[in-house]
Symmetry: C2
Subunit: 304 residues, 2 copies
């Protein structure tokens, strides 16, 4: 059986969730499936979990499958070595790692992630975002800085088909941790967005000092200078602002629009922050760019 007559399936398999896309002949979506069978939820039995996914999508006859994300990590199905950033994004298709499986009619491969060592010798890593950036590039997105917001927000500089460098910020994770545990959670009584408070946090982030500035969120409330309803948005502004100011310091300047690949709500939130700080951005639909990447992975890899 060749992939020419097998259904083509792409799976973005992350830590907590996975999302699968069945491609049609034009590279559009024939069917889609999402569930919470992230790699930490499957108890190590990835094959059984994939089988359930194929059943749910009525693909028991088999499929040619490309997976990306944490499924290729140490705690994933098969640990796929990171590519160094000296390897262009066009190398991803050929670098996919086959996954041994006894599922009938199934061919299964995992896209590698990237690693980058910064000038101070500290590494950074990505798994999954490389496919998004590659897809955006295939859709015509230009060179420059890419932002993939989320639990771990990624900023990557793309030049001539290569990632020159990338940085991860723990923005989403710190926001969730601080809203749920500890001192700030005690003054946060709502997570409804408050634009003015978001802007105030953004402004307060300009001086760096996040581990100090975060306490300011509490101090503003206990001194009655800010209502508790504003605290979560202030913290969000502080975290997103810290991220943008840090990237600006690294980048020197950022004249071209930032290419944002993220959910509409996160893309809008970051877009607004960039706008306030005098920068421009363009948002890309994460499903569309992922589909473009999948299409290229299937087309440009070994079809045997």
């Amino acid at each position: 059986m060749t992939s020419a007559n097998r259904p083509l399936l792409g799976i973005d398999w992350g830590t907590s969730n996975r999302r699968a896309y069945l491609l049609d002949a034009q590279g559009g979506i024939a069917a889609e499936h999402a569930d919470h069978a992230g790699i930490l939820q499957v108890n190590g039995d990835f094959e059984a979990s994939l089988q359930q996914l194929l059943q749910a999508m009525k693909l028991e006859q088999g499929a040619d499958i490309v997976m990306s994300g944490m499924v290729g990590s140490r705690n994933g199905w098969v640990q796929v070595p990171y590519l160094p950033v000296t390897q262009p994004l066009s190398a991803l298709a050929q670098a996919m790692t086959p996954v041994p499986t006894a599922l009938p009619g199934v061919r299964c491969r995992i896209v590698p992630g990237y690693t980058y060592i910064d000038p101070q010798g500290v590494p950074d890593v990505m798994r999954g975002e490389e496919a998004q950036i590659f897809g955006a590039m295939r859709m015509g997105a230009p060179d420059g800085w890419y932002l993939l917001p989320g639990t771990h927000s990624k900023w990557a500089e793309l030049r001539g088909g290569r990632l020159l460098r990338f940085l991860t910020f723990m923005t989403g994770e710190l926001y969730a941790l601080l809203c749920e545990h500890g001192t700030l959670s005690k003054v946060i009584n709502s997570r409804e967005p408050v634009p003015l408070a978001f802007e105030a946090g953004l402004k307060a982030s300009a001086h760096g000092e996040f581990t100090h500035a975060a306490f300011g969120c509490r101090a503003l409330v206990v001194t009655d200078m800010m209502p508790p309803e504003h605290a979560a948005s202030y913290l969000s502004g502080l975290l997103i602002g810290s991220e943008i100011h840090d990237i600006l310091r690294r980048a020197g300047s950022m004249d071209a629009p930032v290419q944002i690949v993220g959910s509409p709500s996160l893309a809008a939130r970051y877009g607004r922050a960039l706008d306030i700080l005098g920068m421009t951005s363009r948002a890309w639909d994460p499903d569309q760019v992922y589909l473009a990447a999948l299409h290229a992975f299937f087309k440009e890899s070994d079809q045997s």
Copy 2:
């Protein structure tokens, strides 16, 4: 009954714990008591909780009591307004707020905390640390920067008996949160101090960017560049280093020794970090400085 013949009792009453010191005539400790009846544990019945403390210390006949810390906060017994930093530390004794109580023979007062508004208009607050700094000053500690490490690490600049400014860092809280929850906790398998890893984290903190640098702790482990046993110490170095670098940026320079008031283990850890970054420090015993403060509070306040 005047305080001249009543026992003098000082209580450092915090969020999670409290510590009580019965003074002898020379300002030393006649008896000491510590328990976990922090303000969040007493269910709002502070009088009953104080009564239990007095019974435990065999002070049922009454006492002249001075309390400091979160007991004077919004969630404490009586909310005592913060003093602005324009008020000298010598004003604390006269600014103590009486607490109404029906306990026999008991006079009870709470020391106010301080608030400081930074040049950007963001407030900071302290409750409890003001007594420690005042006590150190009474013991002859010089003008300059004071460091009170802990869950919320405080740096305060003392000049001529006044706090010029102070800053809180969420160092201890972020360390605990990140060791217990989320991404970094998954790579942290030991909290045993590893001096080399602490130094590496300290070095990595020099560029600011804490919300990015913290992810480096994970990336170092998943790329096999650092064993997981080093991750907690690396994170500690990163947090303490961020704090020191931020203070150095604010202070301009710090030629005089930093006066550290904290537990021996924390004081040693910060002392080492300051040493590595080319600064000197002197450690003060937190019990001793608190006693010196209590002695002055009783002596200099209204004795009626």
